[in-house]
């Protein structure tokens, strides 16, 4: 287990509101090994981004971690206070956000944004930082990096800016990158390049990636493992090939049946009836039961079993019974 980079155990995030306490993340457990890519998928509001923010310690109040543990490289980080956690961010966990157009400070040259990050976390001189900034930009494929470090974000296209963001996330050589929908805001033609770039750079460095997305195609091509989230809970967790080809949780099965694949030809896509419940009106028992084709009395009464890291595949009493 020494090469486990990130280990999340029974993580629960709560948001106190006037309608009661919401749990956007509920008893979630997952693990990422060194150099591996974990894809986290789910519908909007399933708690994917909330999980990513909890890991990097940037939950917006009043959201807060109310239970569970987060371990990074064998060190517990969810209990760290402000200042030590700040030192972990950027240095040990890099983050890539969804929209590259708004992730960069418009008034600072990109070179300055790179060097300030490195000077904060690495014990190097300003001139060394500038050299590394140029190298980092070259690595992410910015042509003419030596001149472009003086350029401002608005002088780059969206895809190029996301490359800069990736350079920024990796410049202090973190052991984990949390990529929160890194390609959603980009052109389809650029998406594949960005994902390939992220994958290559992390493979070279042995950096683990937590790839948050709702794009099953990206997961299929990129991830080693996949975690399927539903209404804040882990629905299914396992190696990507198993989960995608032989899903056992009825939600994952529905998800796969509704994903357009070339192999399926021109057949009509299935859809899962209904919509994911809002966090304020979660049903009793398993959160998925109102939409589940195989729901039984037990599902309406008892919450689905909680998945522990490493064990089991699907958080379902009758996993695998419906058949794909």
């Amino acid at each position: 287990m020494t090469d486990t980079v990130l280990k999340v155990v029974n993580l629960t995030v709560k948001i106190p509101t006037r309608q009661g306490v919401l749990r956007p993340v509920d008893k979630l457990s997952l693990e990422i090994a060194k150099g591996k890519i974990l894809g986290v998928v789910g519908e909007s509001g399933a708690g994917k981004s909330m999980t990513g923010n909890a890991v990097i310690g940037l939950l917006d109040p009043p959201a807060h971690i109310s239970g569970g543990e987060i371990w990074l490289n064998g060190k517990r980080i969810d209990t760290l206070t402000r200042e030590p956690m700040r030192a972990v961010r950027g240095k040990q966990i890099g983050m890539v956000f969804q929209d590259p157009l708004t992730s960069l400070n418009p008034l600072l040259p990109i070179g300055d944004q790179l060097t300030e990050t490195m000077l904060e976390h690495l014990d190097i001189s300003a001139s060394e930082a500038e050299k590394r900034a140029i190298a980092a930009l070259e690595e992410v494929g910015i042509p003419g990096a030596a001149e472009r470090i003086k350029s401002y974000p608005h002088e780059f296209s969206g895809g190029m800016r996301q490359r800069v963001v990736i350079a920024l996330a990796l410049c202090a050589e973190p052991s984990l990158v949390v990529a929160d929908e890194p390609t959603t805001a980009l052109d389809v033609s650029v998406q594949a390049q960005i994902i390939a770039l992220l994958k290559r750079l992390c493979a070279e460095r042995g950096t683990a990636i937590m790839l948050i997305t709702h794009d099953m195609g990206v997961i299929a091509e990129t991830a080693d493992d996949v975690a399927v989230m539903y209404a804040g809970r882990m629905a299914e967790l396992g190696p990507v090939r198993d989960v995608l080809t032989r899903p056992t949780h009825p939600y994952t099965q529905g998800l796969m049946a509704s994903t357009p694949l070339a192999a399926k030809g021109g057949k009509r896509l299935n859809q899962i009836p209904g919509a994911m419940p809002r966090l304020t009106e979660l049903p009793a028992g398993c959160a998925f039961h109102p939409r589940c084709p195989i729901a039984k009395d037990k599902c309406r009464a008892d919450p689905a079993p909680t998945l522990g890291a490493g064990d089991g595949r699907a958080a379902c009493w009758f996993a695998g019974e419906a058949g794909p």
């Binding site: 700040r86 950027g90 400070n105 990050t117 996330a169």
Partner: protein, 328 residues
């Protein structure tokens, strides 16, 4: 950028010409200057002679042109009341107003920005809430009342500071300053606070709301995700992004500080151009009024020009070559 500067300079010139026209019109429409200059016992011949002598028999455009010609040379005629060249009188009075305005502006900007950032960062802290509540006083109380309250408290009750005047001044030949004597500095305190308080609270509230807006932006989140220190996040990343709107408003406020020094100067009997202007109105001293109007408009125009140039210094997105096809 140069093209922009030239275009703005040209626009400024038009503004000044229009203000000049208004100032000049006062001579013709606010009473007859001949009436003011000649006493009760005058003859028709006196009037005609003076009219010709002053060129008032010329057509309006010719008169306006001559007014502009001499205004550009700094000649605004002779004060009806004081009988001395207006430019001289203003030159004597201007240092007092400029020193007062400068101190007020520095106070307003330094404290306004600092408190604005503070109240934005500690949004829910009791100290920030107290400052915000107090700032309502600055925004809502009229200037003269604040002045009178300050005089009552610090001059009358406590006796710490003088209630009027400028104290002792040192004559530097072309500039009489109150900065170099203790009584001059002491006399500056109350008027400067009175004049700057409103602008300070305005700048503070503006900086606060802009900061709150910017702190919600993705790049601030990303800066935090990169593990930058709070100081860097707040000042290097957030504050700079608030500056464009803040500078716009601050620039306009600086103009108003000079223009509305009138009230403060009246309350504190501060011997500046504002007080001169008030007295000029009382005696319908039109050359002084016209010169003051021109002076204030020149200052407004200069400040606005500087503000426009500052935008370029702050925001690189404006430095795009406007002749390119990608312009908006």
């Amino acid at each position: 950028m140069l093209a922009f500067a030239i275009r703005r300079a040209f626009q400024s010139l038009i503004v000044l010409l229009v203000v000049g026209l208004v100032a000049f019109s006062m001579f013709n429409f606010v009473g007859d200057p001949i009436d003011s200059m000649l006493g009760q016992e005058r003859t028709g011949a006196d009037i005609e002679r003076l009219r010709t002598q002053l060129g008032l028999d010329q057509p309006f455009p010719v008169q306006y042109y001559r007014f502009l010609e001499s205004a550009v040379q700094g000649n605004f005629g002779i004060s009806y009341r004081l009988g001395r060249p207006v430019s001289k009188i203003i030159a004597e009075r201007l240092p007092a107003t400029l020193e007062l305005a400068m101190v007020s502006a520095v106070l307003a900007i330094v404290f306004g920005v600092a408190l604005g950032v503070f109240t934005a960062i500690r949004r829910n802290g009791w100290a920030a809430n107290t400052v915000m509540t107090l700032s309502l006083i600055g925004v809502s109380l009229p200037t003269f009342l604040i002045g009178i309250l300050l005089i009552y408290l610090f001059a009358v009750e406590l006796g710490w500071l003088p209630s009027f005047g400028r104290g002792d001044v040192v004559d530097l030949g072309w500039w009489r300053t109150g900065f170099l004597t203790q009584s001059g500095l002491k006399a500056l305190v109350l008027p400067a606070i009175t004049l700057g308080l409103y602008q300070m609270t305005l700048i503070m509230r503006l900086v606060r709301s802009e900061m709150l807006e910017v702190l919600r932006q993705d790049y601030i989140r990303f800066a935090r995700a990169r593990g930058l220190r709070d100081r860097s996040v707040y000042f290097r990343h957030a504050l700079k992004n608030t500056l464009v709107p803040v500078i716009t408003v601050t620039g306009m406020q600086l103009g108003s500080i000079i223009a509305f020094a009138i009230i403060t100067e009246t309350v504190f009997q501060w011997p500046g151009v504002g007080l001169l202007f008030i007295n000029a109105i009382r005696f319908v001293d039109i050359p002084v009024m016209a010169a003051y109007l021109m002076l204030i408009s020149v200052m407004f125009v200069i400040i606005n020009f500087i503000v426009d140039m500052l935008y370029f210094a702050i925001d690189p997105r404006l430095r795009v070559d406007r002749t390119g096809s990608a312009q908006k």
